[in-house]
Symmetry: C2
Subunit: 213 residues, 2 copies
């Protein structure tokens, strides 16, 4: 299947479909129509059908989609059918929170190592891993088949670390540093800019108040 | 100004403009054209002009935008011209990481109180605040002019807490719980679904590998 032309907006919606289908599956629902899914997820049924048509439509028939099949297919598209090996760079509060969050492991995202530049943190235990110095980064990534690096470091250090990771052929960077990274095409970057999200909330609060006061 | 029809996609891009303009300002750049900004931010100049036209265009002239004016205006639109009072609900790892992140305070988002249901956490100090029991929630929100609640609790408890917050008229919920919240129109919700973001990264890695192997 050629996914080249599927927009990032569609991709952004896939994890949410996956989440709702997982809950339906857990509740032993076997089939669901786009109309029922539409009510549940508060999006239009036509949006759902359009999104699914990007992937061949998942064989909806008169009586709707097979929940388990749809869940597995979307999971496969999202790369959830195999394990991902992660390293964490930056063992601060946020890094530790992510390393300790067990739901990632349940979804097949497994932390294999943690790195930091801070001498007072190196050698300490975080989530059953010993924090390593950055000098061991390249060696560890190669030997442990790491495909994703999670960056929870200040923005000043992030570009250089991203460059080192790119040079050793990391597949993806999950970037919490508040800076846009320039990496080659073979490195995928997903940004989580928390301040941006908070500002968007602030905008929506402001707008509501301006319109209703 | 009537912002009613501005799409959330445009709003999502405003914090990034704000970030780049802040950096330009720090580097004493006084004016910038949409073309120059376009190269810096890797979006098209026409996208920038279209986005800005939603807000009246910010008075670009032949020689470009006034950086400080543009920075201040976008900041004002994002509600950064006044302080927001926040509470944190859920004093776990992620909650503590957010409470300790000083950059939020610098942008005018100030944590005033922390709540948890866990008896072993209540009364302890987190980021210079004493963790309070949930029974004090309503009283604290009213007395301290709280407008934003940050939810870093498991998804099972989130809907009930969101309902309590809605009832006392909170303006916004920054939701890290992995569930969609149903709240009235006067409560703005901004979701940070970390697993969804990680799945999107996983999809993009997968797609790249399928296309290039």
């Amino acid at each position: 299947m050629d996914n080249k032309d599927i927009s990032q907006a569609v991709i952004s919606r896939l994890p949410r479909y996956h989440r709702y289908l997982g809950e339906l599956k857990d509740n032993n629902v076997e089939r669901i129509s786009s109309q029922e899914l539409s009510v549940l997820m508060k999006v239009t049924a036509s949006q759902i059908r359009q999104d699914f048509n990007n992937f061949g439509g998942f064989g909806q028939q008169g009586y709707g989609y097979n929940v388990e099949y749809l869940y597995d297919e979307i999971g496969r598209i999202l790369g959830m059918d195999h394990t991902h090996n992660l390293i964490l760079i930056g063992a601060g509060n946020l890094g530790q929170a992510l390393a300790n969050y067990m739901n990632f492991a349940r979804r097949g995202f497994v932390f294999k190592g943690i790195f930091d530049i801070d001498e007072s943190v190196i050698g300490k235990n975080v989530s059953d891993m010993v924090v390593m110095p950055m000098s061991e980064l390249e060696d560890f990534v190669r030997k442990n088949d790491i495909d994703i690096a999670v960056l929870t470091i200040p923005k000043t250090g992030a570009p250089e670390v991203a460059e080192r990771l790119s040079r050793i052929g990391i597949s993806g960077i999950w970037n919490f540093a508040h800076v846009d990274l320039n990496v080659p095409d073979n490195v995928q970057v997903e940004n989580v800019h928390l301040s941006d999200s908070l500002m968007k909330l602030s905008y929506n609060i402001n707008r509501y108040q301006e319109e209703n006061n």
